[in-house]
Amino acid sequence: MPSIRVSVRFFAQHREQVGASEREFDLPPGATVRELLERMRDTESGRVLPDRPTVAVNLEYAPLDRALESGDEVALIPNVAGG
């Protein structure tokens, strides 16, 4: 079964801790954001994940049960501090 590939973007303290602004992950078709985060926890990028991460998919906040598609841009959003 072909897998899907998504990119994950990191910002601010997450970007500094990962040492990269973006990583790619291969997942089984139909994988959710939650499954992506579980996959990430097995990699060195996973150490920046908080217990309850906030995530955006394709420029919009998304729930953990959101199903991903190949080419989706996922972003790990640290607590925000605009203004």
């Binding site: 973007r9 910002f11 601010a12 303290q13 906030t54 955006a56 420029l59 919009e60 906040y61 998304a62 729930p63 953990l64 049960d65 959101r66 199903a67 598609e69 972003a75 959003i77 640290p78 607590n79 925000v80 501090a81 605009g82 203004g83």
Partner: protein
């Protein structure tokens, strides 16, 4: 008024021009125009701040700012909304955000402006790092964006 509102938003590394942002919403049909600017403070809890560096997830910040502006147009009797957030390294006194609202009457301007700044602070994917006089720096704690419920409505592909 809903439906014919005008929105102009942006996230930019260039210095903000609040008077231009104010002009961009002004029209003869509105009796009230309100400008809010947030500026960099030279201290945080008694610690002198020399630089505030803003990092943005720019594409999403612009999309979220547009969503917030649309909400303001729906909720309040306002006709034009403009909001711009700055990124990069700012000195104390520089404007980091500007919000301009035009409406037929003043009450809606104040309400919409307050709504925009509070939502923006809690939702825009923007982060700031303070640098102090001794050269040390740190990312500010910030706010946790609103919790999303599990998707109960059909998504675009459902």
């Amino acid at each position: 008024m809903t439906g014919d509102g005008v929105i102009r938003v942006g996230v930019s590394s260039r210095p903000l021009a609040p008077d231009e942002i104010l002009d961009s919403v002004t029209s003869e049909g509105d009796g009230a125009v309100l400008l809010f600017t947030g500026t960099v403070r030279n201290h945080n809890r008694d610690r002198p701040v020399v630089t505030l560096t803003y990092e943005a997830y720019r594409d999403m910040a612009e999309a979220e700012l547009e969503r917030i502006a649309s909400e303001a147009l729906e909720r309040f009797d306002v006709s034009r909304v403009a909001a711009v957030h700055r990124t990069g390294s700012l000195q104390p006194g520089e404007a980091s955000v500007a919000i301009a609202i035009a409406a037929p009457h003043r009450d809606a301007c104040y309400e919409a402006s307050r709504y925009m700044i509070e939502e923006l602070k809690g939702r825009l994917p923007i982060w700031k790092r303070e640098t102090y006089a001794d050269g040390s720096s740190r990312w500010l704690g910030g706010e946790r964006p609103p919790e999303l419920e599990a998707e109960s409505h059909p998504g675009p592909d459902a």
